[in-house]
Amino acid sequence: GALVYQYPRRTICKSGTSMRMECQAVGFQATSVAWYRQSPQKTFELIALSTVNSAIKYEQNFTQEKFPISHPNLSFSSMTVLNAYLEDRGLYLCGARNGTTSGNTLYFGEGSRLIVV
């Protein structure tokens, strides 16, 4: 079956330092990877959408300078939170899909929780 492994599950970092998280798709080709942040209110914020052979598209309020993303192949993507501060706390989720057909399921990784102290 299709699985997405995401790591680390949890990171505690000092204010102003950075955290890198990685996402590995198994059993399918991750032609697109979306990175989300889930706030304490539990809503999903889309940070950016990465598709193979296309530029990474960042949503409003999120920038490449703050959240650089790499998507080098069809099974791997990484994102870094640079200079993390309290407002960056939350659960970061990667979601991977294969193809653009509407029925293609978005498979989530287990999430990387960022705690900033």
């Binding site: 997405v4 995401q6 032609t31 697109s32 979306a34 539990k42 809503t43 999903f44 889309l46 959408l49 598709t51 989720l93 979601g95 899909r97 653009t100 509407s102 029925g103 293609n104 399921t105 978005l106 498979y107 989530f108 990784g109 287990e110 999430g111």
Partner: protein
């Protein structure tokens, strides 16, 4: 623009009772609707999905019917269990790769 509206906030029920979590959507695309469930400290997992108008889709005791005439995809279960306590998200993919999520509904089932 594309959007999903769900039952707001928290739904509290006693075990054994039926539940319906509302989901309505707005889009210009031909909709393919998803329900995701997220248990505490876990990632969201696909619960069920459908693109067929007026056809009931079922999984793990939950069911939903896509009604394009009313742009709805409400999630139902006839008898909730303690293990159904979780966050439930309604979502659909827009054109291309983007997936739009509702704000989530928390279901809390008590003994």
């Amino acid at each position: 623009g594309d959007s999903v509206t769900q039952t707001e906030g928290l739904v509290t029920l006693t075990k054994g009772l039926p539940v319906m979590l509302n989901c309505t959507y707005q889009t210009t695309y031909s909709p393919f609707l998803f329900w995701y469930v997220q248990h505490l400290n876990e990632a969201p997992k696909l619960l069920l999905k459908s693109s067929t108008d007026n056809k009931r889709t079922e999984h793990q005791g939950f069911y939903a019917t896509l009604h394009k005439s009313s742009s709805s995809f409400h999630l139902q279960k006839s008898s909730v269990q303690l293990s159904d306590s979780a966050l439930y998200f309604c979502a659909f993919p827009t054109g291309g790769y983007k997936v739009v999520f509702g704000s989530g509904t928390r279901l809390l089932v008590s003994p």
